[in-house]
Structure formats: C-alpha cells, structure tokens
Symmetry: C2
Subunit: 264 residues, 2 copies
C-alpha cells in the first residue's frame, strides 16, 4: 500500500510551543478560556502570543477591547510583516482585525485557508515560549489547515458539561487523534460547570448538565484539568476587555493554574 | 458594468416556506430554538420538516433521541430518495445521521456543499407548509450554499444577550441583507435571556448580559420576537429527546407563540 506523502509543514522557528484550543461546539467559552490561558502564561513570565483563527466569529478583539483597531504592517528586507497588538503582556493577532465587526465574511474554504496561513506566518511574533491558537467550532477548513500545515505541540479541549455538546467535542478529539495528524490532546477544560448565585453561595445550579467533562476524560483517557463555574461577572469581563479581573477570583485562578500545569 | 448572472436555484416545489434559523455564534441554542419552532408549527397543524444542516456539529439527532438511527433510502423511477424520520409530528433529516457521533467530519468546503445540496434535494419531504433549516454557526460554505442555491423565504436570528455574540450575529444579518442574497430577516429570538432559580422565582440572573436582542433589533429594524429565559430543565430536555415538554412551561409556550406569529 502506498503511503501518503505528508504535507510540507510550516515551521515557525521562533515559537517553542504552539497550542490549539478547540472545542467542536461553539459558545462553550473557548475564546475566553484561550485568552485567560494566554494571560496566565504571561503572568508567569512566559513570552506568549494569542492567535484568533476564528474567521467567522472572532472574539479576541472584543475580549481585549480592540474592536476598532487595525494592525500596522512593516516592510523589512522585502518581506511584509504584521505587527500584533500587545495587551496584558501578550502578543495578539486576530482575523477579526481585518474586517468590520458587522461585516459578514462570505469566504469559502480556499480563501479562508490562505488567510489563516498568511496570518500565522506573517505576524511579527518575535520569540515566543507559547502561541495559543483560538480555533473556530467544528472540524472545518481552518482547523484542518492548522493541524496539517503547522507543527502543533498539543491541543486543549473546552466543553460544557452538556451531553449535546459532547458529541461535537468527540469529533475534535477524533480529528487530533487521526493517524495522519496525531496531535497530543493535553487535557479537557469543562466550562460553565455550574452557577452559584452570589446571594446564595451554597447553592449550585447545573444549568448545562453535569459530568460531561468527566465522561469525556474517561472515554478518551485524557485528564480533566479543571471545572470552571459560571458567575455573574464573567459576561461583563468578556464584553468590556476586563479579562484580567477574572483571575482575581480565587476559584478561577486555581482552575487556570491547574490548566497551566498541562502546558508547562 | 456587467451584472453577475444569478446562480440557478433549486426549487423544492412541494415546500411552501423554507425558513433558515441562523445565529453567527455557536452555542446560543439555535438548534433547540429551531426544533421547538418546528414542533410548535406541527402542533398548530402545519406540515413541517426540520433539516439539520450543521455538518460539523449536528444537534438534531440528540434533540430527538435519534443518535443511533440511520435513514433508509428508496429507489423510485430511477431516483433515489432518503426517508426522513418522523418525531413530534415533524419530518426530520440531519447530516448527522450519516456519521458516527464521535467521528470527525474532516471535509473541506466543496464536499460539504455537495452533501447539503444532496440532502435538501433528495430527502422525501413530501408536501410541506414549512421546512425549518438549522444552520451551522458562522457564514461559511454551508450557509452560503443554502442562501445562494435554494429559494429561502426568510431567516430567524437567534442570539444571547451578550455583546460578544452580537458581533457574530451582525455578520449573519449582513449576509442575509447582501444585495445578491436579499433574504428577509423575520425577527430576532433572544435566548438565555436570564435565569430564575426555581427556589427563588423572583430573582433574575443575567448570566449572559442584558439588552443584546433589543440593541440588534433597533440597529437593524428587525422585530425582537421573544426573550427566552434559561431554566434548570432545558438541558435535560435537550439531552434526552424531551423537547416537547418545554412547551408545557407557560412562559416558554408564550414565547414560542410570539415567534410563530412572524412565520404564519
């Protein structure tokens, strides 16, 4: 049987670790988790970048209050490079910087693929210990391009506890495990695990079900790194570029320390 | 200036109204809303179909407890047609029926496009008053194919109240409004608007922010049809194929009646 010739991969020589944050399902808080991981790594002294590869729904500009910013490009030795923004100590690039927030990106697969490749390669990342990539939901063109054409060191999976989101998440894990891809899945982060109203701190409401992260963890033998509850402040912190505040919450900060242990 | 020749559209002659349920952002409850709209239409006596076009994260099989079912196909006059399942009085087809739930669909754009076209055209819908289409998040290949190649009568937009999801939702509306597409956006459904614990029914927690639906409604002059609160039962109802129970809740049933007024 003839073996497939592996696709030539791009090597980003100055970047030690490229980590994909994926989920299969949208709306599970993947971008928030990716951003807070990047912030936490930077706080620990690692040189960190955050690449938002979710062309159709880029959240990173909003998360860092960069909605109306446009990156500048640099010409050096005949090569154009794009300057990332620096916020909370991390270098930030997003496909969203190149479109008006209200404007639909009506691009089909091949154009999307080129945009991602170009932005990964042409951003002036400098030397990085970690590049965290926030990916779109699903296992479509963008994720396929990233895993086939870049040397990815590992993937983190974000899910809610809900059964209906697990099927989608399993699909992502399946993609990373595929024989011609083989990207180690470092762990599972269960998000929106429960809600405790600040007025009734002893009550726990499992609005998005229960046990999903644990069941995935057993099924695929991947560690469940953390269960992150939802609280009344997260929404505002995300909407108004106040993500760093999230780590002032003790439980939150412990959760993300747990997640970081899988990376460091 | 030369005008673009419009793409030849497929006409599904036996279907009176094809309605797209879209959201831009994943995880806002789009599939649940699409399914409950279909159930409500059937309850009112309309012949209704539900097409799940979310190839990468099909939720409809789980919503109707059809995860392990495979549709049968029929050969008639040399033409193959696929038999939909019938649950809660609606005819149901999903791209998810053709894959194992844990299996990643590693298809790029063109294959996805063909799968959607084939399933729309070859499903034995019979005569329908309404075909409700649940679409994937984003404005990628599947949504582009549906709006360009089928005669869609209208779109419903599902969002959460959160600012960060609004940017993505605006992109979908922008797509429907595009000069060469022009699909009427019938209204906005705000989902997960607040949470009232059953033990404290007077308390309202705005876990996903506030006012997003209203602000979209003003910006695009599209009616805000309903605000649907989250409750402790929805997750189970979705996970275990008990969607019909949702309409036993008085507030829920009133909300969906409001949504239906935009369609009938």
């Amino acid at each position: 049987m003839k073996e497939f010739r592996p696709i030539e991969k791009f090597h980003l020589n100055n970047i030690n670790n490229i980590i994909i944050v994926a989920s299969g399902k949208g709306g599970v808080g993947k971008s928030t988790v990716a951003a807070v991981i990047a912030i936490s790594l930077a706080k620990k002294g690692f040189k960190t970048g955050l690449m938002d590869a979710d062309l159709y729904g880029p959240s990173v500009p909003t998360l860092f209050n960069l909605q109306n910013e446009r990156p500048i490009s640099n010409e050096k030795d005949g090569k154009t490079s794009i300057m990332p923004f620096i916020r909370a100590g991390i270098k930030i690039m997003s496909l969203g910087f190149f479109f008006n927030p209200e404007q639909a990106v009506i691009w089909r697969g091949p154009m999307v693929t080129n945009a991602v490749k170009q932005l990964m390669n042409d951003t002036e990342w400098g030397k990085l210990d970690y590049l965290i990539i926030d990916t779109p939901p699903g296992t479509g063109d963008i994720l396929i391009t990233l895993v086939q054409q870049f040397s990815i060191n590992g993937a983190l999976i974000v899910t809610t506890p809900q059964l209906i989101s697990l099927a989608d998440v399993q699909k992502s894990i399946d993609l990373f495990n595929a024989a011609n891809i083989k990207i180690p899945v470092l762990g599972i982060v269960e998000n929106m695990s429960w809600f405790s109203p600040s007025m009734h701190p002893d009550e726990k409401y499992f609005l998005f079900g229960k046990g999903g992260g644990e069941s995935l963890s057993k099924q695929f033998e991947i560690p469940l790194l953390a269960q992150i509850p939802i609280n009344e402040n997260i929404c505002n912190q995300c909407d108004f570029g106040l993500l760093e505040e999230m780590l002032l919450d003790y439980d939150m900060s412990v959760s993300f320390d747990q997640v970081l242990k899988s990376l460091i």
